[in-house]
Amino acid sequence: MADLLNRFWQGLQFYWGDISYLTVQHLQIVAVSGVLAIAIALPLGVWMSRPANQRYAMASIQVLNVGQAIPKLALLALAMSLIGVGSGAAIIGLFVATLLPVAVNTYEGLRAVPQHLVEAAEAMGMTPRETLWKVEIPNALNVIFAGIRTALAINVGTAPLAFLVGGGGLGELIFTGIDLNDFGMMLAGALSTALLAIAVDLGCGLIQHAAVSRGLRMAGRQ
């Protein structure tokens, strides 16, 4: 273990320039694909949860499941064969892989809002839109955020594969390290990726903490 840490530390010092440059690149891929996926999957989850659309919900989820069922590497290869080598292929592949958790959690989170709250909102004269924004979404936020955090963890952890389709990122250190049998280089890439995943999740947690009502947090602890 001490040896491992030592080699990581040496690798970190030696490759610091690469790490900082590749981390930015890595984050760019994650951010673009993640934001795109959330921007599509959130409204999709909301749409699926509307009573009139519930019969399409299962079909939609199965379509999104394809993104999860296909191995991530194959997904990236497919994207590359469609739009060619580069970060574009990486972003598309990661985007597809990120959709499902966000959409499913949004859908399930909204459906889990107690029916009597929705009825109370309607009875007080809220329009369906007002009910969605003032009652349903605020009370489903914890579940929705759980989906976003899962999705981003998958995204950050899969993003090293982007290197294989010419997308750059911390995968460059990992795969090059493997190929050159340079353990320090590989560790520098792998552990940086892991730290990045933790940092992204912490960041999401902070946003979640700020976004979710204190009333719900307290109710959750009871």
């Binding site: 004269g125 809220m126 009333g215 719900l216």
Partner: protein
């Protein structure tokens, strides 16, 4: 105030509500009573159009509600449900301000109103305005539920088994509390319940539902003493005559006729025996009075007003005689 005429609701082939008509006067509490699935909740929900009637008219203050759009109508009617339905993501203040905000009230006006309403439901605004629903007991939550329904000062309140989920002891407390609030705000209230005691306690008029139809509409006393069918008599219970006790006050049976032994005591200038006798107030309900008399093994009580001035005597025999006044014999 509320006039309902020939109201019908069909769900597919099922008739949930059939030809229901009744009127409720301003400031009255009308209880829609009946077993589960009798159409009482459907009727209630048609009044603020949570459910759209198949046919029939509902007038509030002479105005046909079908002329109003559904959202405007709902915002103008207070609504309280059994599960309370306070929004857990909002503070007490925000919950109370929901309808005022929807109506576009000035923020300060809504806040002032919220604080005012907490006073009405006897909760300290300084303590409760910023709390969340999860920090309140069931009874407190339902008080806030009532306050929220009163927020925009709607003339009509609909209450769907509001106290059904509260334990029996606290239910009595919150019922009394609600009656106190009602005396302050004087709303026209439609109240769904399956609890006869609750109906007897709170109702100015009762609509007893069965199979989607009103079986009998009248005062609680009408239903208890003069049921118009076997169904009504059975629903009100084998002890329905005894339930009338709750509707009667000591003042209803008070008499100036002194019991013989009391005259002797007074005659002998000794007030001691009088102190050992039960003393009741004119407003006490006869169920309590009779129960206490039976418990003490006495057959009369003294009735004094709140200043302690002598009003008269309450005789056990008069209570029993009063109970069977104006009853129709059981229909069979």
């Amino acid at each position: 105030m509320i006039q309902i005429e020939n109201l019908n609701k069909q769900f597919g082939a099922v008739t949930a509500v059939e030809d229901v008509s009744f009127n409720v006067e301003e400031g009255q509490i009308c209880v829609l009573l009946g077993p589960s699935g009798c159409g009482k909740t459907t009727t209630l929900k048609m009044i603020n159009r949570l459910i759209t009637p198949t046919s029939g008219t509902i007038r509030i203050n002479g105005r046909d509600t079908s002329e109003l759009d559904s959202v405007t109508l709902k915002r103008s009617i207070g609504y309280v449900i059994q599960q309370v339905g306070l929004f857990p993501n909002m503070t007490v203040e925000e919950n109370i301000c929901v309808v005022p905000n929807l109506l576009g009230w000035d923020k300060n006006k809504s806040r002032k109103r919220a604080a005012e309403l907490l006073e009405v439901v006897a909760l300290d605004p300084a303590k409760f305005l910023k709390r969340y629903p999860c920090e309140l007991s069931g009874g407190q939550q339902q008080r806030i539920g009532v306050a929220r329904a009163l927020a925009a000062d709607p003339p009509v309140m609909l209450m769907d088994e509001p106290f059904g989920a509260i334990d029996p002891i606290n239910r009595e407390v919150i019922q009394d509390e609600f009656m106190r609030i009602q005396r302050l705000v004087n709303k026209t209230v439609l109240f769904v319940s399956h609890d006869i005691d609750e109906a007897v306690k709170m109702a100015d008029c009762v609509a007893l539902f069965h199979n989607g139809k009103i079986q009998q509409f009248g005062s609680s006393d009408d239903l208890l003493a003069r049921p118009n069918s076997d169904f009504v008599a059975n629903f009100m219970g084998g002890d329905r005559i005894m339930k009338r006790l709750r509707l009667l006050r000591a003042a209803d049976v008070v008499s100036k006729i002194a019991p013989r032994e009391h005259m002797q005591i007074v005659g002998s200038n000794s007030g001691i025996a009088a102190h050992s006798h039960l003393i009741v107030k004119p407003g006490d309900d006869l169920r309590q009075v009779l129960s206490q008399l039976l418990g003490r093994g006495q057959d009369w009580a003294l009735c004094n007003d709140s200043d302690g001035r002598f009003v008269g005597y309450v005789h056990q025999a008069d209570i029993l005689a009063r109970l069977v006044e104006n009853i129709t014999p059981a229909v069979h």
